[in-house]
Symmetry: C2
Subunit: 165 residues, 2 copies
DNA sequence: ACAATGTATCTCAGCGCTAAGCTATCTCGG
DNA sequence: CCGAGATAGCTTAGCGCTGAGATACATTGT
């Protein structure tokens, strides 16, 4: 059995036999798989009028310590997008009544973002469905394979500096 | 040692002990790693005034059978983007003189895209640097780990329908 | 006390992509 | 041979993000 990347690797080996293209066997698959998985996850989000960006914000707030308040800066660090993107995400979520921005008494530059009751209800409704989808996407792997995969990905992430500070 | 996803999993387990969030240990890392890797690859592309989109088109043409001619439709299938995106990618590359569009004699609806000499020179210059970067990104893994990883990712891709037709 | 520097957030032009729809051409059954 | 449907590529409005920069407030060193 062969996937799309196998075909790509074959082509390169015919066309450029002088190059070692084996790293593409890993990185090409990573990128392709992430795209397919994201498409699959997007379906579940869409069923609740969400997309990944909004889901990420709601989920990050939901899993934070009570009282579930974070600054835009916290959200930026967690989401790997720029501050401008966070502002716009919050604008959209606030307009839908899913989050609330309040002044930060302790620091006049800053803002506190929290879930509204509606926002919390929504994320609590979506989360189990999201986990089902993730589980289904991983259905081809045994538990042991998943563990090994998670561990290997963690090694790579750590080597690229993605650690808890 | 713990990465960002470990922290996220801990948070969920405290906040929602009723849910099994283990799938996030795999899918969260996949998504996060892909983003970090893409940032790293983008640096190499930028050194040659390229981005991933342009690189993908040039590389797909370069590895195709002589005479390195593909239709926009072929490029669309290979790249997982819409036809509109392919049109725009080709517009940009054509304006820079890196690819050429010619009529398809056999089918008046269609077009043939080929590399110019300049385009071919560029991709041949970038490709080895790109592979070095990919290799460096995978530096934390042994050869055996890379093989296992590639195989596992392929299983997932196949289960999601990403096969050669 | 305050100037200089740092930090938090927001603003916005520009970019690449998608989704929907358009035009031109091809295919095929009747 | 022709009309209906399929196919290939292009167009474009709208979307979310980036990168650069603006604003306001906080911190630091002297």
């Amino acid at each position: 059995m062969a996937d799309h990347v196998d075909m790509v690797l074959d082509q390169w080996r015919r066309r450029r036999p002088d190059l070692d293209v084996s790293p593409m066997g890993v990185i090409g698959r990573l990128s392709r798989l992430t795209q397919l998985v994201n498409t699959e996850l997007a379906r579940t989000f869409a069923e609740h009028d969400l997309d990944r960006a909004s889901f990420d914000v709601l989920a990050t707030l939901r899993r934070s310590d009570p009282p579930h308040q974070l600054t835009p800066n916290d959200l930026m660090k967690a989401s790997m997008v720029t501050s401008g993107a966070v502002t716009q995400r919050l604008d959209r979520l606030e307009a839908r009544g899913l989050v609330r921005r309040t002044r930060n008494e302790a620091d006049g530059r800053s803002v506190k973002v929290s879930l509204t009751e509606e926002g919390r209800d929504l994320i609590d409704r979506v989360l189990p469905r999201h986990l089902e989808t993730e589980n289904r996407v991983l259905g081809a792997l045994t538990g042991k394979q998943r563990d090994t995969l998670a561990r290997t990905l963690r090694e790579l992430l750590e080597s690229l500096g993605d650690t808890q500070e």
